[in-house]
């Protein structure tokens, strides 16, 4: 186990280095570099900008700048927001919880519904239910999340008046029920795509488990179909889903950004777009790197969990 852990950990560190190099490249693609905002300041001459660049070490070779930048990232110095001067990590921290709440709820929803559809599709293979579920999943994968959100607001807020159109809580209320009330529609919208993905993979995994020899043995022993499904099939089918959950992280984050925009949800995605609008590059860069780090860590955790649950993985 420790060998597996060490191996997997070192892979993640290599990946983080590559991720940071890609991020650094994007940072340097930004027009005028990190000092772009001073180029427009009439109080600063070209000489001033050059002096500032020299002071900040921006005239050094790129690889040296990268090492310096990466070292500060590791130390937790991610720069300061242009907007209010607070540290980037603190700004991200203020928005992290809202995003995690949205992502967590919709992922739980997607797993519950997707698992049910997938298992039913596999046990009733080629039935009307299975056929409809397959087609619905493919259409759901093609619907732009923001459009689904707009349709949801149109029907459930404007026509039926069941749920609020946006924000995380009503000002002056803020009870748990109020939060839940605001959470329903965005998490439903965000989960749609993942219900589709999850149910398709779950169907394949269940079919795979159903065709195993131990299922035949159980049937030969006279175990009831229901018991076979619950005790022998579902557990085995859910194993590869742990890896899938890790792999889905980037797409959940992408969906979260769009959903947060439509529902004015105060999370990382909204923060990212707001910061883009203000040309607040330190926060934009911080969120870009942070999202990738989140994905790398998520995959690492998924791999460790599956290695704990399934000993075959860590022995291979």
């Amino acid at each position: 186990m420790s060998g597996f852990l060490l191996n997997r950990l070192s892979q993640s560190i290599v990946l983080l280095v590559i991720v940071s190099i890609i991020g650094f490249t994007v940072l340097n693609l930004m027009p005028g570099g990190p000092l772009a905002q001073f180029g427009l300041d009439p109080g600063m001459t070209q000489k001033d900008v050059e002096r500032l660049a020299a002071q900040l070490g921006l005239n050094r070779p790129l690889w040296l700048q990268y090492l310096d930048w990466a070292w500060r990232l590791i130390q937790g110095d991610w720069g300061h927001s242009f907007r209010d001067g607070s540290s980037v990590l603190a700004v991200i921290g203020r928005h992290l919880l809202a995003t995690l709440l949205l992502m967590g709820t919709s992922t739980a929803l997607a797993i519950a519904v997707g698992t049910w559809i997938g298992i039913r599709g596999a046990t009733h293979r080629y039935s009307l239910f299975d056929y409809c579920a397959t087609i619905c999943a493919m259409v759901a994968l093609s619907v732009p999340t923001f459009w689904f959100g707009l349709i949801g607001i149109y029907i459930f807020t404007l026509k039926l008046g069941w749920v609020p159109a946006g924000n995380m809580y009503t000002i002056g209320d803020g009870s748990v029920m109020d939060y839940l009330h605001h959470l329903i529609l965005p998490s439903l919208v965000l989960s749609l795509v993942h219900v589709a993905i999850w149910s398709r993979y779950m169907r394949t995994a269940t079919l795979d488990a159903l065709s195993q020899d131990f299922v035949k043995t159980a049937r030969a022993k006279g175990v009831s179909e229901r018991r076979i499904l619950l005790k022998h099939v579902v557990g085995n089918a859910l194993l590869p889903m742990i890896t899938l959950a890790g792999m889905q992280l980037p797409s959940i984050l992408t969906g979260a950004l769009v959903t947060e925009t439509v529902f004015t949800w105060p999370g990382m995605g909204r923060l990212f777009l707001d910061s883009l609008g203000y040309s607040d590059y330190p926060v934009v860069m911080g969120l870009l790197i942070f999202s990738a780090v989140l994905v790398v860590l998520g995959n690492l955790i998924a791999d460790i969990v599956i290695a704990i649950v399934d000993p075959r993985i860590r022995l291979a």
Partner: protein
């Protein structure tokens, strides 16, 4: 030998089993039909409609669908929505298709090189693929689109540069499995150059998975363009795209819901069609046997 060949019916590509299997895939045929209709409508349609997509008529603002000759109604400036939808379709489909071509090209080059060379070059290239895949695509695309000047060509390049990794992974795996086959060993023994073996011997045998990945890549590129244009960093007005038509739609949701519903439906139809076609191709070319 020649006598026998002369008696055999000529084998053309449309006689192959793959085409036969594809033709039996109903959803894929539906996809082909819908895309054909969409492309025809977007190319010919604007000439058949009575209004120009840029013609502003403030007296006819917010006309609901089916009022007069405004079949899909009008937008806040009184421009005909149907005309704009078809012009936007040209932009969105073209961007989606070009981004697919470019990303498939990059992905194939990286995949073939990594798969055939192997060793530390292959390992390093695949780690770069992993690195790009760690970024949620929309964060990377938005950061690039906001800082580089967003022209349609630049948007296409940005989408391609952030979505070639899937193809690279698929091609790398395929090439790695083909590398030690007899025909490749034979080609090596004859003394053909590495480039010739990579692109003339191995690549044609890896075309199936590449074609499947490409059809799904069009769907993803259209979606990605819609996302960033909706958020205001993609195709810039007055040039319409399906995404930027939805850009201001949210504030008129109560009074003019058709502004949001119609362009979104167009995106969904186009993307669904390409996903159907991709699914049919996957079955026909038998790339993977797992049926979702």
């Amino acid at each position: 030998m020649t006598a026998i060949a002369a008696h055999l019916p000529p084998t053309r590509w449309w006689h192959s089993r793959a085409v036969y299997r594809f033709m039996r895939h109903h959803l894929a045929l539906v996809g082909i039909a819908m895309i054909t209709l969409l492309v025809l409508a977007c190319t010919i349609g604007p000439y058949a409609l009575p209004y120009d997509s840029l013609h502003i008529d403030l007296r006819a603002r917010f006309a609901p669908p089916l009022s007069g000759h405004h079949y899909f109604g009008t937008d806040p400036l009184g421009r005909d929505l149907a005309a704009r939808l078809l012009m936007a379709g040209r932009v969105s489909l073209l961007v989606g298709f070009s981004a697919m071509l470019l990303s498939t090209l990059i992905g194939t080059l990286v995949g073939v090189t990594a798969g055939y060379r192997g060793g530390w070059i292959g390992a390093a290239l695949m780690r770069v693929v992993d690195g790009f895949l760690s970024y949620p695509s929309i964060f990377l695309v938005l950061a690039l689109a906001a800082t580089l000047r967003p022209s349609p060509v630049m948007i296409t390049v940005i989408i391609a540069v952030t979505s070639w990794m899937e193809t690279a992974r698929i091609v790398e795996a395929e090439v790695r499995s083909l590398r030690e086959r007899e025909f490749v060993q034979a080609a090596r023994m004859v003394g053909l150059s590495r480039r010739h073996i990579m692109f003339r011997e191995i690549l044609p045998n890896a075309m199936g998975p590449i074609i499947v990945a490409a059809s799904l890549a069009v769907a993803r590129a259209i979606l990605l363009e819609a996302y960033i244009s909706f958020l205001g960093y993609g195709i810039q007005p007055p040039l319409p795209s399906w995404g930027n038509m939805l850009n201001g739609a949210q504030q008129y949701l109560a009074s003019a819901p058709w502004l949001a519903i119609i362009p979104g439906a167009a995106i969904t139809i186009a993307v669904t069609s390409f996903n159907f076609i991709g699914d049919g191709l996957r079955d026909a070319l038998d790339v993977r046997n797992d049926h979702f």
